[in-house]
């Protein structure tokens, strides 16, 4: 067998070259004092090697080389192009490569554009890059592996017998991309998130480079301006990445929300909150020099927490407590060393510099400063409160390492309420502070006089809101009023600043705070969700269910309208999304190509000539007609995907200006698992009718089976088909059961009406009297159990997130202005 390992071997070689050039560049930029051509040349080698690694991996994926483990694990035949690309970063190794790609871009920007402490910053960025590169190195020293390469062969990774008998065996298909990840958000969310991760490295590198300088005072303002811009970018990109993940979870996962306080989510939330603290601390130190020491501490803290997150997610330590953590790929030791390195070295430098950093001269603090300090403290607490429970698995391991006995602590049972109970108080504090503190910004002093009007107005609006949303919990009322206060305050700042000086960085801050306040309102109101699928029938769907599932879910039988409170639902069967729109699944016939399907005629069930393209045929949609009085009818399309024995449900979200209606299927009658029970057997003549329970069967004629259908059967087969019309109250259905005779052998092809749950088989003929024996079998009508939830004002979360990111971008374009108008030192 002639297999080329060229691309794999080249890729592996290029990963090594990426690693070596990163290390060399880091060293060289550390020792050199001015720009040299060697630096640019080394960087080019690094960049080309990294891009080359990507190209090699992509070629292997594109060629479906399942003899490579990474390709086999993530790729499959027939995966569409966008998802092929997202395969590149689905795995552990690929996601490190993504991080490295962004890190390299940032290092490049630093090399070409940066002025402030360029070489040192570059050196530290490349040191981070070297450590990242070591994670995908895949080099062995004896038994010790450094990194896990994406270019490993399947036969080296899988310990299965076939490779012993047939060493060159290549699997014919890959495991494919996880069904849940086959979503457009998953193409864009990981790159944005890893860009955010890479960005946290820049303020860290600038900080470390600054700490390394002996005469630090000289660089003070330059340092703050430089780090401020990168921090702003970090917050917005990381925040957008997190929100994309939240939106994906809302749209794809079936748990009915967008955030579940899973350890993996927490691990990213913590550094993001810390970057917020960092930004505000930078802002404070711009005016008061003695805050500088904290402004130098926070970037180190948030960066090391990014690595802590990486360690938690990828070392397998979260194993028992998180649904979507990676399992250990043998990198835990390496990740732990990187983490220790990233905490200890900067800490050492910080301690060394600490005594030289400016001290407070105990002047009177003004209110603005106090407010910001309290705000920063709240951010720290917010992060700390999430950090402690998320680290429980780490505590277990640590205590076991030290004492040999594991305490077996587990995360809180009800994570959502546990975290929310704390975080809501922080959110209230943040909302109040972000509303009040800017009143003390000098140029907004005139506004301060009208603060009592604001409070009146807020209380008025809040009471009106309470009429619509009867909030009972005092914390909810507080959060609503404080966020409303913040919204009003921000809007008036924006106007006032606009009138006085136009748009500057404090208006940008106002915009971001407005976004955050809107998000808080959205979070609060959407949590006041209302169940629309309340079971008023008095029936119990399943006695094993806890009460809330029996009362909150609705059972719908196909084509049976069900009146709900204020609207009506009809379930109309399973559909697939084709190039010409939704088509009933039972009228579609698969071909050998999973994206090409044949449309059957709805009456005759004979293939039409045309084939239809179905890009994602494993996705099935339940069609539910949703009808409100005096409103036009709409269709809801909750989803189920199945591949082999995996079943994944996703909701349908109907969007209105003031709410989302979230519909998801809990379970359905699987057409592949139907059990038929005989109902009756009757002899009838053509033109006769038969009444069975709630429908009539009209026997029209008997005719020979058309030769094109018979062509598939052995020669000399005789076949007849009956034409039957089955009517229930509203619809009529047409079926053609067939009977085949060859010698003494009989064959039957029943006619099925899935909508009615009946099946008719022609089982015997008496030619002399023209009597035909039909067997009628019944099964349960197709059904689904759904839950419908109305989530008021959930868009405010997404709009608010976009607004606050917009504010950050505006701030990036505006140099920061002094808040205090205090004299600079």
């Amino acid at each position: 067998m002639n297999i080329s390992y060229l691309w794999g071997d080249l890729g592996h070689l290029l990963t090594i070259s990426t690693f070596v050039s990163a290390a060399a560049l880091s060293y060289l930029s550390f020792v050199s004092t001015k720009n040299s051509r060697t630096l640019y040349a080394l960087f080019s080698i690094h960049g080309i090697s990294l891009i080359g690694t990507w190209i090699c991996l992509y070629i292997l994926l594109f060629q479906q080389r399942y003899d490579y483990y990474y390709v086999w694990s993530h790729m499959s035949n027939w995966l569409s192009l966008p998802y092929q690309i997202s395969c590149l970063w689905e795995g552990q190794e690929g996601s490190f490569m993504l991080w490295m790609l962004f890190q390299a871009i940032l290092a490049g920007i630093c090399l070409w554009k940066k002025k402030y402490l360029k070489l040192r910053t570059l050196s530290i960025l490349m040191a981070i890059q070297t450590l990242l590169g070591s994670m995908i190195l895949g080099v062995y020293f004896g038994d010790i592996a450094i990194g896990s390469s994406p270019f490993q062969l399947t036969r080296h990774m899988l310990n299965i017998p076939i490779f012993q008998t047939e060493p060159h065996f290549i699997p014919t298909d890959g495991k494919g991309l996880n069904l849940l990840l086959q979503n457009y958000w998953m193409i864009i969310h990981p790159p944005v998130l890893f860009f955010g991760f890479a960005l946290t490295g820049v303020p860290f590198a600038i900080t470390l480079a600054t700490l390394y300088q002996k005469n630090f005072g000289k660089y003070y303002q330059e340092f703050l301006e430089s780090i401020r811009k990168w921090t702003l970018l970090t917050i917005s990109i990381l925040g957008i990445g997190i929100m994309m993940g939240a939106y994906w979870a809302y749209e794809t996962l079936n748990f009915g929300g967008y955030w579940s306080w899973d350890p993996v989510e927490n691990a990213v939330y913590i550094p993001w909150i810390l970057t917020l603290a960092q930004l505000h601390m930078i802002r404070l130190s711009k005016d008061k020099k003695h805050y500088l020491r904290y402004a130098l501490t926070l970037p180190i803290l948030s960066f090391s927490l990014v690595w802590y997150a990486t360690f938690l997610i990828r070392s397998g330590i979260l194993g028992d407590s998180s649904v979507h953590a990676f399992t250990d790929a043998g990198l835990s030791g390496q990740l732990l060393s990187a983490l220790i390195l990233f905490i200890s070295i900067p800490l050492l430098y910080l301690l060394k510099a600490w005594k030289y950093l400016p001290k407070a001269n105990y002047t009177q603090k003004n209110s603005l400063e106090m407010g910001m300090l309290i705000g920063i403290s709240l951010f720290l607490l917010m992060a700390f409160q999430v950090l402690v429970p998320t680290s429980i698995p780490v505590f277990n391991s640590l205590i076991q390492m030290l004492s040999g006995y594991s305490p077996q602590w587990a995360p809180p049972i009800d994570a959502i309420n546990f975290y929310a109970d704390f975080q809501i108080w922080f959110a209230i504090g943040i909302a109040i502070l972000s509303a009040i503190v800017p009143f003390w910004v000098p140029h907004l002093q005139a506004l301060r006089k009208s603060i009592s009007w604001f409070i009146f107005l807020v209380l008025g609006i809040a009471s009106l809101c309470l009429l619509v949303f009867p909030l009972a919990d005092i914390r909810h009322i507080l959060l609503l009023s404080s966020s409303l206060f913040s919204v009003l305050a921000q809007i008036s700042y924006l106007f006032y600043t606009w009138k006085k000086i136009g748009f500057n960085s404090s208006s940008a801050a106002g915009l971001s705070h407005l976004g955050i306040a809107m998000m808080l309102i959205g979070i609060l109101l959407s949590a006041q969700d209302q169940n629309l699928s309340t079971n008023y029938t008095g029936k119990i769907w399943n006695s094993n269910f806890p009460d809330e599932i029996n009362t909150d879910n609705m059972l719908l039988f196909q084509n049976e309208p069900r009146k709900m409170l204020g609207f009506q639902l009809v379930y109309q069967g399973i559909y697939k999304k084709t190039e010409i729109g939704f088509q009933p699944a039972h009228l579609l016939q698969a071909t050998h190509n999973p994206t090409h399907w044949i449309r059957l005629d709805s009456v005759q069930k004979i293939p039409r000539k045309d084939t239809l393209k179905i890009p994602e045929a494993h996705k099935n949609y339940f069609k539910i007609q949703y009808q409100r009085p005096n409103k036009s009818e709409i269709s809801l399309w909750p989803q189920v995907q199945y591949q082999e024995d995996r079943i994944v449900y996703s909701p349908h979200i109907a969007k209105y200006w003031n709410k989302d209606i979230y519909t998801h299927v809990r379970t359905f009658s699987d057409p592949q698992k139907i059990k038929w029970t005989p109902e009756t057997e009757k002899w009838i003549k053509p033109q006769d009718s038969l009444l069975v329970k709630d429908y009539t069967i009209q026997f029209q004629t008997v005719e020979p089976v058309p030769p094109e259908i018979l062509a598939d059967y052995p020669p000399n087969t005789m076949a007849l088909q009956a034409r039957l019309l089955v009517k229930d109250k509203e619809h009529s259905y047409f079926v053609q059961p067939k009977i085949f005779v060859k010698g003494k052998e009989l064959g039957f092809l029943p006619g099925t009406i899935p909508e009615l749950g009946i099946r008719l088989t022609l089982i015997q003929i008496r030619p002399e009297t023209e009597d035909f024996l039909f067997r009628v079998e019944r099964t349960q009508k197709p059904w689904i159990i759904i839950e419908m939830i109305e989530k008021p004002f959930i868009h405010l979360i997404w709009i608010g997130a976009c607004l606050s990111a917009l504010g950050m971008f505006c701030a990036l374009l505006n140099p920061s202005t002094s808040l205090l108008h205090a004299k600079k030192f």
Partner: protein, 135 residues
């Protein structure tokens, strides 16, 4: 300075509060024997985390899964790390990949001597894959 000192003390105090509340809300990984020991006389126990795997027969087929009506709920046999087997009731449809899980964490409690799970976490094999699905 006084103000800053107040903030610092408040920060420490609230930090301590966070630690205490975490400690109070922390659950524990236990085995069935321990969970049963904590039951009261009616057979109701506290919420716990429990790690185990599915029970297989000699042909490595999973045994003991019982589907509820409409497959909207199910129960299964869980063997804890000490080898004790108990039936676990779960009020939701069987999760995707359930039968492939090499390790299962259930969050639940004993109610009238029956173990009811409210959450199931699955650890699916990523390195190891059964032979039949390769081919």
């Amino acid at each position: 300075m006084n103000n800053v000192r107040i903030i610092a003390i408040a920060l420490l105090g609230l930090g301590l509060l966070v630690l205490i509340s975490t400690a109070r809300n922390t659950s524990q990984y236990v085995d069935f024997q321990e969970a049963q020991k904590r039951q009261d006389t009616k057979g109701n126990g506290p919420w716990v985390h429990l790690i185990g795997n599915l029970v297989q027969n000699q042909q490595e087929e999973i045994i003991g899964i019982i589907q509820g009506p409409h497959e909207t709920s199910f129960s299964f046999l869980l063997k804890d790390e000490k080898g004790k087997i108990e039936r676990v009731w779960y009020p939701k449809p069987m999760p995707t990949d359930f039968t492939r899980a090499e390790k299962i964490v259930v969050v639940g409690r004993f109610v009238k001597k029956q173990f009811h799970a409210k959450k199931i976490l699955l650890k699916c094999p990523s390195k190891y894959q059964a032979e039949d699905s390769v081919l």
